[in-house]
């Protein structure tokens, strides 16, 4: 395996589950496997277009994933239209669903990357819907610390999500 293949494997190891998670939530398992492969091959071929000043690597990969999933859904729809009557899922709705899935998974990935304290505080606040006071009591940390951990966590997540490309 060449050194350049090793680089792609590193990226796959770091971000494969993010890409795959989106594919599995939008497509069937077989389609997900195929599209996930397409995403990484696409990314490898387009690697010179990745500009780190415009956004993070996971955000770039998620952009490619969205486009590949949507392309796949459109192609599936073209095939099924030939066989069935019109009236299947309207195109805009399913594409919006893919966008939403991609955004959610990128956020979830960013949460997993947070330092332990911030990750715990953010999970308790937003996924488990606890108040800051409740989090303070449960974790034994001061209220100010909890708020500060959450604020820093949100800033980091925003940094992860940022991309200035479409």
């Amino acid at each position: 395996m060449s050194g350049s293949d090793g680089a792609l494997k590193q990226v796959y190891a770091a971000h494969g589950s993010l890409v795959y998670g989106i594919c599995r939530r939008a497509l069937s398992p077989e389609q997900a496997d195929e599209v996930a492969q397409d995403v990484f091959l696409n990314a490898w071929r387009a690697r010179s277009q990745f500009d780190p000043s415009r956004g993070t690597l996971p955000a770039w990969l998620v952009g490619i994933t969205r486009r590949r999933v949507i392309d796949h859904l459109r192609s599936e729809r073209r095939h099924s239209d030939r066989r069935a009557a019109e009236g299947d899922l309207p195109e805009p709705a399913s594409e919006a669903a893919v966008e939403r899935i991609a955004e959610r998974m990128l956020v979830a990935d960013a949460v997993r990357d947070l330092p332990d304290r911030a990750r715990e505080a953010i999970q308790l606040a937003y996924v488990h819907d606890l108040t800051h006071q409740q989090i303070s009591e449960r974790t034994g940390r001061a209220l100010g610390t909890v708020k500060s951990d959450i604020r820093r966590g949100l800033q980091k997540i925003r940094h992860q999500l940022e991309t200035t490309s479409g």
Partner: protein, 259 residues
């Protein structure tokens, strides 16, 4: 004060409230299952490997061809007018104008971009060196400790930051930093831009956000902050007292000078 759903108290006016609210909405839409990584089965990577083997990859030299993107200057941009107050103040600010004409930095191979910057923790300090040089640098500032005016927490600290032009959006990025890592009090480090007046005193200041010594990252500059005026970069120690104002306890400060 009861706050449900982890609503963040917006203390300072940093112009990013909307962004963070959108992120909060997305976070609330997550289930526990969403937070579990969904590892691909082994055959997915095997398929990628097989496809790469069948279709020879480009050599590293062709992969490094950068896109000839247009300069990211704003349509009506012109170099900032030079400061006419010739203010030196306590920071020895240069009066050289900060130009928005971007310097085209050679883009690194993408696998370097994925590498994290080195963070070494030595004693009570976290030392950081940025490994890749990606966005064009517009100006830089060496931040130093003033033993007479600053908080002693900064006595071993230093930092160098750059004002970078990331596709038309200005950010402050850390190039190097040695920052106190073990704050014994319940406090954070916060990054500010200060607009000095003609005597070198603080006319105005804006927070860019909290500094995490484990992950310095970069800080977007709000659109209404003009870095030619807000040219002094400051790092302070901020106790977690709910007060968004500058504590007055700076540890490092320096003026941006055009590259």
């Amino acid at each position: 004060m009861a706050e449900s759903g982890g609503k963040v108290a917006r203390g300072g006016d940093d112009g990013d409230g909307e962004d963070l609210e959108r992120i909060e909405d997305l976070l609330r839409s997550l289930s526990e299952e969403d937070l579990e990584p969904f590892d691909p089965p082994d055959h997915v990577w095997a398929g990628i490997e097989a496809a790469l083997a069948a279709d020879p990859v480009e050599t590293a030299s062709t992969a490094e061809t950068a896109l000839t993107a247009e300069t990211a200057a704003k349509p009506d941009s012109e170099p900032f007018p030079p400061g006419d107050d010739a203010s030196d103040g306590s920071d020895g600010a240069s009066t050289a104008p900060i130009s928005l004409d971007s310097r085209r930095a050679r883009r690194p191979p993408w696998w370097l971009a994925a590498a994290a910057a080195a963070v070494l923790v030595a004693g009570g300090a976290a030392v950081f060196v940025r490994q890749t040089d990606d966005a064009p640098v517009v100006a830089s500032a060496q931040l130093t400790f003033d033993a007479e005016q600053f908080d002693p927490l900064g006595s071993d600290a230093s930092a160098r930051v750059s004002l970078v032009d990331a596709d038309g959006r200005l950010r402050i990025a850390f190039d190097e930093a040695r920052l106190p890592a073990d704050l014994t009090e319940d406090a954070d480090l916060e990054l500010w831009l200060i607009e000095p007046d003609s005597e070198g005193q603080v006319r105005d200041l804006r927070s860019l956000g909290l500094v995490d010594v484990d992950d310095l990252g970069s800080f977007p500059i709000p659109d209404d902050v003009d870095p030619d005026r807000f040219r002094v970069v400051d790092i302070s120690v901020e106790p977690r007292d709910g007060d968004p104002a500058h504590s007055g306890r700076s540890i490092l400060r320096g003026a941006l000078e055009a590259s």
